[in-house]
């Protein structure tokens, strides 16, 4: 392993330095940083900051008991109430109509805005009813203790039932799928281009005289993989910092385990597809053919992603979902989504991971064989038949 790893490391190091120094890396990373910063800053600028504020207009000064009860409700439900007083009922009505107040209370009438307000008028109505009820119960001779007891009656707790146990976790699974898909498309093209460059410049033959094809391939994949990871970190860092500082980004709370699993799936899926892209890159004759050479791999990836999104999100427990989340080429995209639904037995998760890892290892040797044969065929696009069967090599 010693010298074997050293060769891989040198190839990876060189590739990474060249990658990071390139103009396209700097431009893309800069754009990602801007995008991430915008993602953090824009909701802060555009969105509502802090607790919601409602305005209640009243005829005359707002009654003290209403103010006290509303403020108490505001503390538990995270809203803040501003009180404005108007001279008479008409003025209150007008204030609500013109949008100066969210709701208006005048005598027996509660004015609610037709445009906005949400649940605030209902809250005000409940407060008024509760106060009136308490007052009449007291007049009927109940002790303050009994009144408080009656007021503490609450409706049963409401639980929303869906196909996924936890929307937040499902969101993370979905996010992993998207990030993996985008990262593989970008990194895959970069890997195929790097391998194609090695072939078209004749470096492959010099390298093969010193290293095994698997060392060259693994080095190239690691170089591009690391560069891509750096870019993902650039994309994620501002978000992570913002979550730590403000805790107000609107991201679902996620268990550390889910994040670790997402990273593991990312690594597995990345390796699997990276070697497919590398092998496709070895088939080309001119560097301009890269895009058409990687088309089959890209199509597989797109189909895998569409399957993961449509099949799994519609019903994570169905037979098709299980199949899609087990098959190595679709598992990295489908399994995180399915796992996040909370309905996956642990043995299925482990099996899917083992299958994907095994497939990745198999692809390393397949890609190495293609690389060795194809890199020495020049002058035309290599057909797959030539490198897999025992066909002619010039």
């Amino acid at each position: 392993m010693g010298t074997g790893w050293q060769g891989t490391r040198l190839v990876a190091q060189r590739g990474l330095v060249e990658n990071v120094k390139s103009r396209s890396f700097k431009v893309v990373t800069g754009l990602l940083l801007l995008l991430s910063l915008a993602g953090v800053a824009l909701p802060q600028i555009l969105g509502k900051n802090g607790p919601t504020t409602y305005t209640l207009a009243t005829a005359g000064k707002a009654p003290a008991d209403v103010v006290a009860t509303l403020d108490a409700a505001g503390k538990t439900a995270d809203f803040h109430v501003k009180y404005v007083s108007r001279g008479d009922q008409d003025a209150v009505r007008q204030a609500v109509r013109d949008g100066h107040a969210t709701a208006g209370l005048a005598g027996e009438t509660l004015y609610a805005s037709a445009k906005a307000g949400g649940s605030f008028p209902v809250v005000v109505a409940q407060v008024v009813v509760a106060l009136q009820t308490s007052r009449r119960l007291a007049q009927a001779g109940l002790s303050p203790q009994q009144v408080a007891d009656l007021q503490s009656v609450r409706p049963p707790q409401q639980v929303t039932v869906g196909r996924v146990k936890d929307e937040g976790r499902a969101g993370v699974g979905f996010g992993v799928g998207i990030v993996l898909y985008v990262a593989i498309i970008f990194a895959g093209t970069a890997i195929a281009t790097a391998v194609a460059m090695e072939k078209s410049t004749g470096i492959s033959e010099v390298l093969l005289a010193t290293l095994r094809p698997s060392q060259v391939l693994l080095g190239t994949v690691l170089a591009v993989g690391t560069a891509t990871l750096v870019q993902l970190l650039v994309l994620a860092a501002p978000l992570a910092v913002a979550v730590q500082i403000t805790d107000n980004i609107g991201l679902p709370p996620v268990a550390a385990g889910d994040i670790a699993l997402a990273v593991a799936w990312f690594a597995l899926g990345f390796m699997l597809y990276a070697f497919l892209f590398a092998a496709s890159g070895a088939l080309i004759n001119r560097i301009t053919e890269v895009n058409s050479a990687i088309l089959p791999v890209t199509m597989t990836l797109i189909i895998g992603y569409v399957l993961a999104v449509t099949v799994v999100t519609s019903d994570p427990g169905s037979g098709w979902s299980v199949a899609v989340s087990m098959f190595p080429l679709t598992a990295p995209l489908a399994m995180p989504t399915r796992w996040a639904s909370g309905e996956v037995p642990i043995y299925q998760l482990l099996l899917a991971m083992a299958l994907t890892a095994a497939a990745a290892l198999l692809l390393v040797s397949l890609a190495s064989s293609i690389y060795r044969r194809a890199l020495l065929i020049t002058g035309h696009r290599v057909r797959l038949r030539e490198v897999i069967g025992g066909r002619a090599v010039s």
Binding site: E18, I203, V206, A209, T210, L376, V393
Partner: protein, 305 residues
Amino acid sequence: MGLEILNVARSFGDRVALDGVSFDVAPGVLTGLLGPNGAGKTTLLRIMLGVFNPDRGEVRYDGRPVGEETRRRWGYMPQERGLYPGMPAGDQVVHFGRLHGLSRRDATRRARGLLEELGLDDRWADRTDRLSGGMQQRLQLATALVHDPAVIVLDEPFSGLDPVAVASLSGTLQQRARGGCIVLFSSHQLDLVQDLCEDIAMVDRGRTVLQGHVATLRASSGRRQLRLHVESPNRDWLLPYADVTVVSDEADQLRLAFPPGTDPLDLLDAARSAGRVVDFGLDLPTLSQLFLAAAGRTLDPAGVR
């Protein structure tokens, strides 16, 4: 000591590239692997370097089969250039030195020395694709020599070079060979490298057809020719020599082929008795002629390629 190629064979599908090639390469001299295009030279070199595996046969070094670790200490310059276009020239040489197992410090020190030796020391920081073709060729050589290999293998290193570059490259290789290295290079331009290599192995259609010391092979080939300019049209003096054939007889030059048993000085004396000999010379066969004889081919008008 030395390198032994033993009965190496390799086919690609139905096409037989090598059909049992065997020869030895000794240290201390330049050895040429010669043959026409398509003879299997590149395939053989690639097998020696481990780029391909042979179907049968083996390559031995110092009496032992060659493994990955041994090969890592060899130097290889392929026919096609193999350099990273965007990398600075110096870094490139250092990188290949490290791939061959040198530490960064050693690789840097040796790279500086080599670039100086090859006249590229002022190009250390230049991007490789900004160098001229000749400079890239020398840089490629530097990447093959940076780790001081004991075995240096070069595929068609002289093709496309101008005479000055040929002399400079062969000088560099000679120096390595004198220092005890094994130096093997391939060429299809037999007459160009005739004076460059001391030993040769000739291959044709995947087989070895001739191998040995160039001077000995040429001298002992039995295909020597005597070139004469005799101031007399009379050829009667040739009559006693029944086994001497007239290759050509033009106004100012008579060319005679004679068998190994005949002393060319006797022929010269006979000619002098017939008339004044203005000019004369003994011509050894060219490598092309040796190849044609050994491969049993006839000369095509374009010569051996």
